[in-house]
């Protein structure tokens, strides 16, 4: 192992901070190509209807170059289950449904053309409740499914179990059953969805400027949709204005834009308005969770029995696979002897969800951590104590086969319990206005929650790897060509720091190339908090090979047989002979003297994780992240407003790679979690979205930000780069659960749904009177 780290662990500002804050970053919206047309999409007026469409008037409008409907294209369905037509033919099943698209000289003409498209609707009664959809009498909503499930409106099912459920039920001193209800939350990326497609008719190649998080899977999906060869599609990622999981799926507007370009032979750009972003981009999966959990008389968790109904919407996205993650929380967060898990995704005429930071885990953790409080109440046990008693431990292999080679769960819990304790006592003791104590308007409460999430990638695709090519030029600059991409999470910075640490090259001499599928090696994409872990390890592998080459040449030049060279200050230093040589000189000597070699190396890293078996058992990630939060709230019993006062968060990050970026991830995630807990909900009525704007979809503002106290826990996992684990999703996951527990603590009420809007809180207070 090395001596002291010089770059890793230091608060290095983001690599791309300068271009972002000065407006120099080139987002998809800034791209202008010669001869570019502007695309626009016509969506159905009714979420459940049959329709006929006449585009003849739109085609006649001067400035309109192309109008397409389902009749004009030869394509395959898209989506995780290939149940989603790119353009809908004769039948609309969701308010987002794309029924025609236009390419025109200007945006205004494209919009005008949409108005000239005549659509005759025969409105049907839609099915907006998943339980109603399961009724045999309900119509079949999606006609493109395989039919492998007994009920025609089931899109996907998951079943998992471990332990002896019935035996554990008998051993339980207390059992609690509740139904939890989770809302639609949406990503609200600051950069709206966008794509620019440019098809070259002379060579048949398609160039896409796309904000996808998963360029190589996207290339494959796009090729399948358009019946093309994947290698004829080049995906270039401009600067991405927010992902949070929303760009894991390929959405219909993307192949539509490509089709418009293929038809016209000209570049076409589609940019969403904010309203369109709210209506047509994905959401977090709404779900109803029926959970029964038990504990023995000492408080040890005995069993959990879970049945989840997920509103799949009209089509199936990656969001339908969230039970992969949800079942990990139920099977393995805190030690539990038996678990039986069922999840069913049900088609409705609602909008479909996608993936969203946490991937089902915030929903699962909300239900689980609420029920832990209720079990503690039944047992008359302290809510901190019951958690400590059941906390996960190092070395544990859970019922699902997750192997916790390192585990900071207990330390996370102990930390936040300790930090929050002092605060709470102070609050009670100070009692600023004693007159109010009897019937205080403001009531304080404290809540705890933990989370378990993959921290070393997640093997849900056949490979969870990442490739890297790394080179040093004759001037001593290093270029990292990585398969991973930057979506704001800071991966460019972390990779540059790793190269700087290992090669002794200063940060400004390190370049990261990561935006072009024709250039970069394969990577599965940005998701599952995996980039620092997987791309970091991949880069370390490439640097190892590169250094072997450099070391060989350095030995020759320094006339030493020292195997241990130190890379520092742009030099290679032999510890043994105390001689040094400039790094760039070694590179030049390699290049210009025989056998004439470049300082370049490639490596592909595949995590040690395993693809789970058909029973969903196996060690799915290279390592696991843990976090605990203790949150204190103040509830205004006059208005129902919940003010989050202090959030104490301890997170097992393995190793802090960059404290500045880490704090950014922690604070950003927590605030998204506070929004999930208190304010954010996409409101729907009969399949239509009622609040497609920032006015009524309430994300929190700077003035709502609580005090966030962050305590990183370093468990130094040997799998991770320098011991690091994934951190991106974790801070969001337990926040809503902890806030909910705090509100319930403050008021003595039971909250089983989110968000806890002022009105819902006031109502709960009234019902509790």
């Amino acid at each position: 192992m090395k001596k002291e780290l010089r770059v890793i662990g230091k608060p290095v500002p983001k690599h791309d901070a300068g271009i972002r804050v000065t407006g120099k970053a080139v987002y998809g919206h800034d791209i202008v190509l010669p001869g570019m047309l502007h695309g626009a999409i016509l969506r159905t007026e009714h979420p459940a209807a049959e329709f006929t469409i006449d585009v003849s008037q739109a085609r006649k409008l001067p400035g309109v170059v192309c109008v397409i409907t389902a009749d004009d294209v030869d394509v395959n369905n898209i989506g995780y289950k290939r149940d989603h037509p790119i353009l809908k033919k004769g039948e609309a099943n969701c308010t987002r449904d794309e029924i025609a698209a236009v390419a025109a000289d200007t945006k205004a003409i494209a919009q005008e053309a949409l108005k000239l498209i005549k659509v005759k609707y025969k409105v049907r009664k839609g099915v907006y409740d998943p339980f109603e959809a399961l009724n045999e009498k309900s119509p079949q909503i999606n006609k493109f499914i395989s039919g492998k499930f007994p009920n025609k409106n089931i899109a996907e099912v998951f079943h998992y179990e471990h332990g002896h459920l019935e035996e554990e039920k008998k051993k339980s001193a207390v059992t609690v059953t509740r139904r939890f209800s989770l809302p639609r939350m949406t990503h609200t990326c600051m950069g709206t969805s966008n794509i620019t497609a440019s098809f070259n008719k002379t060579d048949g190649k398609l160039l896409l400027y796309s904000s996808t998080q998963v360029p190589f899977l996207y290339q494959r999906d796009m090729a399948h949709a358009l019946k093309m060869n994947p290698s004829d599609i080049r995906v270039i990622q401009p600067v991405i204005g927010g992902g949070f999981g929303s760009k894991l799926d390929m959405h219909p507007f993307e192949p539509i834009c490509a089709l418009l370009s293929i038809k016209t032979g000209r570049p076409v750009q589609i940019l969403y308005s904010r309203e369109e972003e709210f209506i047509a981009s994905p959401t977090r999966q709404p779900m109803i969770i029926d959970l029964t959990a038990g504990a023995d008389e000492k408080g040890n968790f005995t069993f959990r029995e879970i049945n989840i109904i997920k509103d799949n919407g009209a089509y199936t996205s990656w969001g339908a696979t969230t039970p992969f993650v949800i079942m990990q929380a139920f099977s393995s967060l805190y030690k539990v002897r038996a678990c039986k898990f069922d999840a069913t995704a049900v088609y409705t005429n609602n909008v479909f969800a996608g993936s969203f930071r946490g991937y089902g885990n915030p929903q699962a953790t909300f239900a689980l951590e609420r029920i832990i409080d209720l079990l503690a109440d039944e047992l008359k046990m302290d809510k901190a104590a019951i958690r400590l008693l059941n906390a996960n431990e190092k070395g544990e292999i859970t019922g699902q086969g997750l192997h916790f080679e390192t585990c900071g769960h207990k330390e996370c819990l102990e930390t936040v319990i300790e930090k929050a304790k002092g605060k709470r006592q102070k609050h009670v003791a100070s009692g600023a206005e004693p007159a109010k104590v009897e019937n205080p308007r403001f009531k304080n409460g404290i809540g705890y929650a933990s989370m378990l999430h993959v921290g070393g990638g997640a093997k849900i695709y056949r490979s969870d790897g990442c490739g890297t090519t790394s080179k040093i030029d004759p001037y001593g600059y290093c270029t990292i060509i990585t398969g991973s991409n930057e979506i704001g999470q800071g991966s460019e910075t972390v990779l540059a720091m790793i190269a700087s640490e290992e090669l002794g090259i200063e940060l400004k001499k390190i370049k990261v190339i990561n935006t072009d599928t024709d250039v970069k090696p394969w990577d599965v994409g940005v998701h599952a908090s995996r980039t620092s872990f997987v791309a970091g390890n991949s880069l370390l592998g490439a640097i190892r090979i590169l250094k072997d080459k450099l070391n060989k040449k350095a030995s020759e030049l320094l006339q030493t047989n020292d195997p241990e060279f130190e890379y520092s200050d742009n030099k290679i230093i032999s510890e043994k002979t105390k001689t040094t040589i400039a790094l760039d000189k070694v590179v030049r000597e390699m290049h210009f003297s025989e056998p004439n070699e470049l300082a370049i190396a490639s490596f592909f890293y595949e995590p040690s994780s395993k693809f789970q078996d058909k029973d969903f058992k196996g060690n799915v990630s290279g390592t696991y992240a843990f976090a605990s939060q203790a949150i204190e709230v103040e509830v205004d019993t006059y208005t129902g407003n919940v003010k989050v006062l202090d959030i104490y968060v301890a997170q097992d990050v393995g190793k802090v790679l960059n404290p500045l970026l880490l704090a950014g991830q922690i604070e950003g995630g927590i605030l998204q979690g506070v929004g999930y807990a208190l304010t954010e909900e996409l409101l729907m009525h009969e399949g239509k979205i009622l609040n497609p704007n920032f006015h009524n979809y309430k994300i929190l503002t700077a003035s709502d930000i609580p005090n966030i106290h962050f305590y990183p826990i370093e468990t130094n996992d040997k799998q991770g780069p320098y011991g690091a684990k994934g951190v991106g999703e974790a801070p969001l996951i337990p926040t809503a659960a902890a806030i909910s527990n705090a509100v319930c603590d403050a008021l003595g009420v039971e909250f089983l749904e989110l968000p806890m809007t002022p009105e819902r809180v006031l109502k709960a207070i009234h019902e509790n009177k």
């Binding site: 919009q111 208005t639 009524n696 503002t701 709502d704 002022p758 009105e759 006031l762």
Partner: protein, 286 residues
Amino acid sequence: MDFKITSPKNKAGLLKAMQEGKNFRFGAGYTDLLMELKKQEETSFTIINLAQLNDKTFTEINTISGGLRIGSLATAAEIVNDKFITQHFPALQEAAHSLASSQIREVATIGGNLCTASPSGDMACALMALEAQCEILSANGKTRTVPISGFFTGPRKTVLQKKEVLRSVLVPLLEKNRKLHSGFIKVGTRRSMECSVVSLAYHIHLDRNDSIVHAGVAIGASAPTIRFAKTACDLISGNNLKTISQKDKEEFAAKVVSYASPITDIRATAWYRKEVLFNISKSIFE
């Protein structure tokens, strides 16, 4: 977004624009109007842009005999930072401060807040409690003054005639250095960038012994227009602020609520609005 715009620099120019204009709208801070314009590719109306108007009766905040004149183009930020308003009309200062965000407060005008006539207008609600007068300038150069209680005629509707513009708001100052209990309560989901779900402005004059000499209470977002809760004000007149009984507090709150006829919309139900209005009305004595 394409529209015609004319920017008068002085009163004469303004009157001319108003006389000549057939179909026009006024723009000052554009915090509402711009949203509307963005939705339209072309507008049928001309915008008379007041932002460049150089006329003190429109732009300045000045003390006058019997009170304060606030030009309709005074921004929320100017009101927030005005020392006289902070001292004598806390309800207005707090209302202006609760408006949207600091960026928007730099451009949003008090005139716009009144003339857009939203039932949830924050400064408008405070001005109702302060029993302000609206000074209206006509295209023919004449002015008329209407009490704010008669200014709003419905949601998004005012007494302003086609060729009239709000020039100033006159806020009466009953007695200088009077003891005050004055404030603005805004209820919403978040702490900024919020449109009131319910609001309450109160401006209560006290004598040396905390007896209530005069009270002004207004409610927002609870009825088709902002309303002055007269019977609630009458009820507490003569009472002592410090010793007012629980029963009187609740009776006062019930009287305030009697002015509310809230709707249920996606932001809140009528039940919630009434319930909260009752609670916050009570809270002004706590």
